[in-house]
C-alpha cells in the first residue's frame, strides 16, 4: 500500500494540487518549485501521479525531443483523451506517460519502472518537462499559457522578449540588467501569460530554462518584443497581423497542433494584441540595443 500525499502550487494565479508518493519529494527539490508552493487549499486543478498504467497506443500529432535529444515526447489524442508519452532515446524505454480528458481539470501521470531505476536527477528532469506540458493543458481553458520568453521587470511592468532559441533573448535581457537601473529579471525561459478581466498579465514560473530565476510575481505587460540579430539596432511597432506572427510561435508549440487548444491560444493572443504593443527589434548584442527597446516601450529618453 502506498500513501498518497499532495502539495499545492500556484501557477499563473491558479492553485494546482499535485498528488502522489515519492514524486512529491522529487518535485519539491526541483529548483524553483518551492517558490510557487502554497498552503493546502481546495484545488479544482489536479495532477495525480498514479500506479495505473496510462496506455500509449495513440497516433501522435506532435513530437518533440528535449534534454539534448535524450528524451522524445509525443502528444496525441484518442477520442476525448489527450495522451502524452516520453521515451528515453538511449534506453529505448518508456519513461513517463499521462492522460487528460478534453475540458477536464485533471491530469493523471504514470512513471515507468524504467524511469524509477534511473537517477533522481533524471527523474526530476522528466517530471519537470511533463509537468510543464500538463500545466499548459490545465491552464489553457482558464485563459493562461506559457510563453517562450526572457522577461524583464521595470517600473512595475514587464517586457517580454521573444525569439527562436539562440537568438539572444537572455543576452538582451542581461544588457537591460547591466545598463538600465532598477531592472530585474522575472523569468528567463517560460513565464505564463494570463488574461485577467480582459487584460494581459505575466507571471513568473518554476520553469526558467538554465537560469535560476523564480519569482512568484504578477505584472502587467508594457510591451512584447520579438528579437532578431542584425548588424545594427532598429525597432519597429508591428501591425496586428505581424504581431500575431511574432507571438504565435512563442506559444506552447504542442498545443498549437490541436483544435481545442488552438481555439484557446488564439483567443488569448487576440486579447493580448488588443491591449499590448508588439515590436520587432533587429539588434546587436550591445547596450544601445537595450536602451533603444527601453526608450521605445517606456517612451523616455
Amino acid at each position: 500500500m502506498s500513501v498518497l500525499n499532495f502539495q499545492c502550487y500556484s501557477i499563473a494565479g491558479h492553485p494546482i494540487a499535485i498528488s502522489g508518493g515519492k514524486e512529491l519529494e522529487i518535485i519539491e527539490n526541483i529548483p524553483g518549485f518551492n517558490v510557487f508552493a502554497i498552503a493546502p487549499t481546495p484545488c479544482d486543478l489536479q495532477i495525480k501521479f498514479s500506479e495505473e498504467v496510462i496506455p500509449v497506443d495513440f497516433t501522435p500529432f506532435y513530437t518533440v525531443d528535449f534534454g539534448e535529444g535524450n528524451y522524445r515526447c509525443q502528444l496525441g489524442k484518442e477520442g476525448n483523451d489527450y495522451r502524452f508519452s516520453m521515451v528515453s532515446t538511449y534506453q529505448k524505454q518508456r519513461y513517463l506517460s499521462f492522460s487528460h480528458s478534453e475540458g477536464s481539470t485533471m491530469v493523471q501521470l504514470f512513471l515507468s519502472e524504467a524511469l524509477r531505476q534511473t537517477t533522481t536527477q533524471e527523474i526530476a528532469d522528466c517530471i519537470r518537462f511533463a509537468l510543464w506540458t500538463a500545466v499548459g493543458m490545465l491552464l489553457a481553458p482558464l485563459q493562461a499559457m506559457s510563453i517562450h520568453s526572457s522577461t524583464i521587470a521595470y517600473k512595475g511592468k514587464a517586457v517580454l522578449f521573444l525569439g527562436e532559441s539562440g537568438t539572444g533573448k537572455s543576452t538582451h535581457t542581461k544588457l537591460w540588467l547591466n545598463n538600465i537601473e532598477n531592472t530585474h529579471l522575472l523569468n528567463d525561459d517560460s513565464p505564463f501569460l494570463a488574461i485577467e478581466n480582459g487584460t494581459a498579465m505575466v507571471y513568473g514560473s518554476p520553469w526558467s530554462g538554465k537560469t535560476h530565476c523564480y519569482h512568484n510575481v504578477k505584472l502587467p505587460i508594457a510591451g512584447i518584443v520579438r528579437l532578431s540579430q542584425a548588424p545594427y539596432n532598429k525597432i519597429r511597432r508591428l501591425s496586428v497581423l505581424e504581431a500575431f506572427g511574432a507571438l504565435q510561435p512563442s506559444c506552447p508549440p504542442g498545443l498549437s497542433h490541436d483544435t481545442f487548444f488552438t481555439d484557446r491560444i488564439v483567443e488569448m493572443i487576440s486579447t493580448v494584441l488588443q491591449s499590448v504593443p508588439l515590436y520587432h527589434l533587429a539588434c546587436l548584442p550591445d547596450a544601445d540595443a537595450a536602451k533603444l527597446s527601453c526608450e521605445t516601450i517606456f517612451h523616455q529618453s
Binding site: 506532435y62 513530437t63 494584441l273
Partner: protein, 91 residues
C-alpha cells in the same frame, strides 16, 4: 471544388485569419489573412461544392466590377487558397 472544412476563419483583434499549422516541431505556422471580399466569398462558399463561375457571380452581385475583372479575381482567390491546400477537389 470545396473549401476543406478542417480550416477555420478566426477573428484576431479585428483581422480574419486562417492558420496553417506545420506538422512537426520547428515547422513554421502559415497565416492566411482574409480581406473583406475574401471573407465574403468564404462565408458564402464554405459549405458548398462550387465552380469559378459561382465565385464570379458573388463578386458581380456585391461589387461594381466588370465581369472579366471579376473572373480574374476569382481565379486568383481560388489559386491562392488551392496552393495552401484550403481549396481542394473532392473525388
Amino acid at each position: 471544388m470545396k473549401i476543406n472544412p478542417k480550416f477555420k476563419v478566426r477573428d484576431v483583434a479585428g483581422e480574419h485569419i486562417i492558420l496553417l499549422q506545420g506538422k512537426n516541431a520547428g515547422e513554421m505556422t502559415k497565416v492566411v489573412s482574409l480581406n473583406s471580399t475574401s471573407l465574403l466569398l468564404w462565408e458564402q462558399l464554405k459549405d458548398k461544392d462550387f465552380e469559378p463561375l459561382d465565385v464570379v457571380a458573388i463578386l458581380l452581385e456585391n461589387y461594381d466590377v466588370e465581369e472579366a475583372v471579376a473572373l480574374e479575381d476569382a481565379k486568383k482567390w481560388i489559386e491562392t487558397l488551392r496552393q495552401n491546400g484550403i481549396i481542394y477537389d473532392p473525388q
